[in-house]
Symmetry: C2
Subunit: 183 residues, 2 copies
């Protein structure tokens, strides 16, 4: 996703199922999209490298730990965790397996639902998270926040928040997979 073909086409279509103006590959509006995709790719790759180098943790693992830390009782049902980390259920099973092996979380049976399992952050896990958090937040500050003004941050928050809502909304309209409900 870096550039998008050449041929232009500027006809207006009545496309109503989605109510959208056709986007040509040369459409200048795509610059925003390209910046978005590109910046994200580089940034997350870098943050992941830093986290991996300093703490032997992937961003997904870090995120899972964070979700657990923020949950009441520092514990969550597997599915709830999967939703928040944007992973499939099998994915979260395996991620939790790794965290358990690392002593970062404990897997316990759910008291109210015998089918269920809960992952809870251990004391050590919380410490690991605190340390990793310093690295991660430092990276976010240094690579992202430092070069974005306050006004730009507000625009990002607003516009991208709207995009996020839109993906969910259009999704349910058209009957696309829910993708799982983060937040």
């Amino acid at each position: 996703m870096t550039s998008e073909l050449v041929a232009a086409r500027e006809t207006r279509a009545p496309a109503h199922a989605t109510a959208t103006i056709p986007v040509a590959p040369t459409d200048p509006r795509l610059d925003a999209w390209r910046s978005f995709v590109h910046a994200h790719a580089r940034l997350t790759r870098r943050l992941d490298e830093e986290l991996q180098a300093a703490h032997r943790l992937s961003l997904a693992e870090y995120d899972a730990m964070l979700q657990l830390a923020n949950a009441p009782g520092r514990r969550l049902r597997m599915s709830a965790l999967a939703d928040r980390v944007l992973l499939s259920r099998s994915g979260i099973t395996r991620l939790v397996d790794r965290l358990v092996a690392a002593g970062i979380v404990e897997r316990t049976a759910c008291t109210t639902d015998a089918r269920g399992a809960e992952a809870s952050l251990t004391r050590e896990g919380l410490e690991r998270l605190r340390a990793a958090s310093r690295t991660h937040l430092d990276g976010v500050g240094r690579l992202f926040l430092d070069v974005v003004t306050a006004e730009e941050r507000d625009v990002l928050t607003g516009a991208l928040g709207r995009v996020l809502d839109n993906v969910g909304r259009v999704g349910s309209e058209v009957g696309f997979a829910p993708v799982s409900g983060t937040d």
Copy 2:
């Protein structure tokens, strides 16, 4: 990457930190970061699903085809392609393998360097790309561009472009891996 520790709700902007002020987990500036990460995750997942459903292509494959289409002669050296789609060399070898199997690209020896290989888009590949492009651009328009104003697009382009540069710059300063030169 969904929320970060406590998740501050206040929208009040703190002193403009433009010089790496420590970032606390509750720093409201992180709202912009969270929106960014979240929106990207949902959006690309959705676009990938749509492309997969309609054309049996992943975003990475689509992007590779696009890079080839935009290259002079509709062909690129393997490494050049790898750089542009942000994939490792082995990754691009395998991706091209798949595209060759699908009749979308041809792998030819490089005339000027006997070690080298070139991938070139076939006639059929170009047609597949044109079709996929409609789906993809429609998705980008519908899910992203439609809900972002012109002013917001400009801010996104500017701010995220700066972020992109910054990642590269800080990277070379500190001696981090170049990550390969996409764009």
